[in-house]
Symmetry: C2
Subunit: 176 residues, 2 copies
DNA sequence: CTATCAATGATACAGTATATCATCGCACGG
DNA sequence: CCGTGCGATGATATACTGTATCATTGATAG
């Protein structure tokens, strides 16, 4: 059984008001949950995959959601420690982040060693992250055609594709 | 003036025999220099950009060229130290690697914190690296259409694209 | 109650990267 | 020639990122 150690109702650390954001690109467009709605969606996806949504994991997700840019594991560790009122160690946070990434409710931005929530959990895109070299802000684009093409190009060489890392470094609209 | 401290003829540390390799994808195809020819091409590109091809830099490039997979900065540091017969420190190697990446004669594989020579220096592609999760071997594909598309998708959002990070993690033909 | 198992904690350490200041060596002007 | 300037490199310290190992906790099945 996988339902052991069910956590208490998650810790309340205050919330931004929920809202619906909208993103669009040539190839992809859909509504994004935010705030509680996003956390709930993530929890749902995560549990459906057979993982436990513990108190600590909920806090890590919540903390991650509140960063407006990708956060380093140690920044997250710090914020989680604040949130729970005791020292949480980095390895614990790394474990949880790895689970999140594996479960597709968060992503790792390789070129900045940082983590960010998946804005549409359960929807398996290859996100293209646009990372500003100046301010660090990171947005993302989903373009399924590009993702398909890039996987096809790899497959054609006999490579079995698993995870795509698609990132653009440059300057965001603000900093350009 | 930028022509100061012209290095002595580069250190001889033995060479693999040169040959011409060939790579092809749907969208891109050309001959690749190897061995001395590659080093010479890289030097030419590097100097044309106004950087000095010092003895140490030549050695770093040579060492990098001899790895059959992307190498970590510390692996490179070790090999360079061997090659020159004294301890070279990591920061020096990092500096040189940064120059190489900036000058487009080497690339950094972000998802494995490693460096690899640019197989076609002077030819500004956005390489797609295919990194084997099992053996670490890394090949690359150049597909200008994908690169163009991905940059276009980013530009359309108002992002000024500089460097693309296009990597696929998975299993190579051997390990699949 | 207690054996078990996943989650988390504590600690240490490995690996990656940068900052700072010192030194060295060539080129140039005098 | 000599000294000055400057880029490259060296030395050192330290910060940041990530993993390994073993201990502890807490819920639960039996």
């Amino acid at each position: 059984m996988v339902t052991r150690q069910v956590p208490d109702p998650r810790v309340a650390i205050g919330r931004k008001s929920d809202h619906i954001a909208r993103v669009s690109t040539a190839a992809h467009q859909h509504r994004l949950p935010a705030g509680d709605a996003l956390a709930t969606a993530a929890q749902s996806v995560f549990e459906r995959a057979g993982d436990q949504w513990t108190n600590l994991r909920a806090t890590v997700f919540d903390v991650l959601m509140r960063f407006d840019r990708p956060a380093s594991a140690y920044e997250i560790t710090e914020a989680v420690s604040q949130a729970v009122g005791r020292r949480v160690t980095a390895n614990t946070v790394y474990r949880i982040l790895d689970l999140f990434v594996g479960g597709n409710i968060a992503a790792r931005v390789e070129s900045s060693n940082a983590y960010i929530v998946n804005a549409h959990p359960g929807c398996r895109h290859d996100c293209i992250f646009l990372v500003c070299d100046r301010c660090g802000n990171t947005s993302h684009v989903d373009d399924d055609r590009i993702a398909t093409d890039i996987r096809a190009a790899a497959d054609k060489t006999g490579f079995k594709t698993l995870r795509a890392v698609l990132e653009m470094r440059g300057l965001c609209g603000e900093c350009a």
